[in-house]
């Protein structure tokens, strides 16, 4: 399988790898996938008092496309509101990275990870469904 140059770039120079303090009340953690399926993503967001995602970090176990999807989506959500981040669709990620059909699930996982992180943050601050979902 050949990879698009964008996938290779994110794989070789991943943005925002790392962890945030999951006990911090401003931090939401999304954990999706399963080792048995070959993909696990941990994506964390740090939300400021204006509801803006001021930082995002990820760690991913998976193929190059999974790593690239999570790297890209952390880039995209930084500086966005929760609502804007929630609205990012996997198809945008897949299109940007030129993922082949067999790798679409990687982009779905990245979208799920963002949504899971937002849900975790909202549960923490006691404001479920803040995005109107």
């Amino acid at each position: 399988m050949t990879y698009s140059t964008k996938v290779v770039d994110h794989y070789e120079n991943p943005r925002n790898v790392g962890s945030l303090d999951k006990n911090d009340v401003c931090v939401g953690t999304g954990f999706v996938g399963a080792p048995a399926c070959g993909d696990v993503m941990k994506l964390q967001i740090k939300v400021n008092k204006d509801g803006i995602i001021e930082d995002a970090k990820f760690k991913t176990f998976g193929c190059g496309s999974a790593i690239a999807s999570s790297s890209l989506i952390t880039e995209w959500i930084k500086g966005k509101t929760l609502g804007e981040a929630y609205a990012i669709r996997n198809t945008d990620v897949a299109q940007h990275l030129a993922l082949p059909p067999v790798k679409i699930h990687c982009s779905i996982l990245a979208e799920d990870a963002v949504k899971a992180a937002i849900a975790d943050y909202q549960a923490k601050i006691g404001k479920p469904n803040a995005t109107g979902d």
Partner: protein, 404 residues
């Protein structure tokens, strides 16, 4: 592909040995005759070359040249052995025994035979990758016509106990076929002492050309089979079609070289693969050898790198041509059925890489491979949430994962 690309996938295929190619050349142009043309020198020259090749192949496995049938490769040989024998004897016996870790071409042929009304027993393997001889003994019944167990596994390189399997089959009066595509030229094989009745050979796995293989078919006691390809009755009626003289010559020469150099080559490869294994495991923890505890060919190391996904790793070591048991390298999204049959947990099958070393692998290649693998596994582990959890002492098995 860059010129610094290092080939470590010798179980997928091997380059033709230049000595093989040299022997083949004259039979494309100068000696182009049809080996089946009986009435002129062009034909005789070609026939002589083909018969010499047949002898070279037979000599390598302790057979008589008349017992060697040329085919297009091991896939055809396996098809011919399984379908040919079971179809020929179907009015007497209709049961076949094989094992779960066979090559796809054996398993798929068995599935086909099941649809044709034959019954097939797929023996499980132990965690070493070897079958349990008691299971084999129990599986053989009065209806059994054929046992087909591979000599060396293509993914994990383990050697099945051919001597013992041969004894059991001979005693029970059933034919023993072995897919020896990965074994010929790598380990000593003797169809007499091992009681092998049919044996499949591939050209391109042993530094010969692609597109040629052979099937050994025992004459005494005689094994009969129904041809799959009908035509002019070449190869004693078992495989019609004009023999590709240059390819036959190439396979013959590859066998002759193997006979001569196998032992030295195995010794060298053992040194290199030990060096690779030590080099990696001394610098990385949580690396597991798949098929540990079984005798193995020295040119194969199948390793699982826990917490690092195999395809992701392959992308990082892209200047090494290796293969992965990870799901993502196939379109099926299923991890290797061989590793699953060994009882390797799915999460570990996703992390496996097969390193295949061979005749042209150098110490320098192995040194580069060690550096690349160690660097990349460390980098990816730093990026892996599973590694992070493991370092925090979290038992990954205690987590409720969201399977997707």
């Amino acid at each position: 592909m860059t010129s610094r690309q290092i080939y470590l996938d010798y179980q997928a295929t091997t380059p033709c040995d230049p000595r093989v190619v040299e022997k083949m050349f004259p039979y494309f142009t100068l000696n182009f005759g049809n080996p089946h043309s009986r009435n002129h020198p062009h034909g005789w020259t070609a026939e002589e070359a083909v018969e010499k090749a047949r002898k070279q192949i037979a000599f390598l496995i302790g057979a008589d040249p008349r017992e060697i049938i040329f085919t297009s490769g091991a896939t055809e040989s396996n098809n011919l052995a399984l379908k040919g024998v079971s179809t020929f004897y179907k009015t007497q016996k209709t049961h076949i025994v094989t094992c779960a870790t066979e090559h796809k071409c054996v398993l798929d042929t068995c599935r086909h035979l099941e649809q044709e009304g034959f019954s097939v027993t797929y023996l499980p393997v132990q965690s070493s990758g070897l079958i349990d001889l008691n299971d084999l003994q129990k599986a053989i019944g009065p209806e059994t016509v054929l046992v087909s167990i591979m000599a060396v596994n293509n993914e994990i390189g383990v050697i099945q106990p051919l001597d013992e399997i041969g004894k059991i089959c001979r005693k029970a009066g059933v034919f023993f076929h072995t897919d020896a595509a990965q074994a010929v030229g790598k380990i000593p094989l003797d169809v007499e002492s091992m009681n092998i009745d049919l044996l499949s050979i591939s050209g391109h796995k042993i530094y010969g050309p692609k597109g040629i293989g052979a099937l050994y078919v025992r004459r005494k006691p005689r094994v009969r089979l129904q041809a799959l390809i009908n035509g002019g009755g070449q190869e004693r009626g078992m495989r019609s079609g004009t023999l590709p003289t240059p390819l036959c010559v190439g396979l013959g020469e590859a066998c002759a070289i193997a006979k001569e150099e196998m032992m030295d080559e195995a010794r060298n490869l053992k040194v290199l693969s030990d060096h690779l294994y030590e080099g990696i495991t001394s610098r990385l923890k949580d690396v597991y050898l798949n098929g540990a505890g079984a005798p193995r060919i020295p040119g194969n190391l199948n390793l699982s790198f826990a917490y690092v996904e195999g395809e992701g790793l392959m992308m990082g070591i892209k200047d090494l041509s290796v293969s992965s048991g990870s799901a993502c390298t196939s379109s099926s999204l299923e991890p290797s059925y061989v590793l699953r049959a060994l009882g390797v947990e799915e999460e570990l099958s996703h992390t496996s890489i097969r390193f295949g070393l061979g005749r042209f692998t150098t110490q320098a290649d192995v040194d580069i491979a060690i550096e690349r693998v160690v660097t990349e596994v460390n980098r990816l582990r730093e990026m892996s949430p599973l590694w992070e959890m493991a370092q925090e002492g979290i038992d990954l098995k205690s987590i409720q994962w969201s399977e997707h």
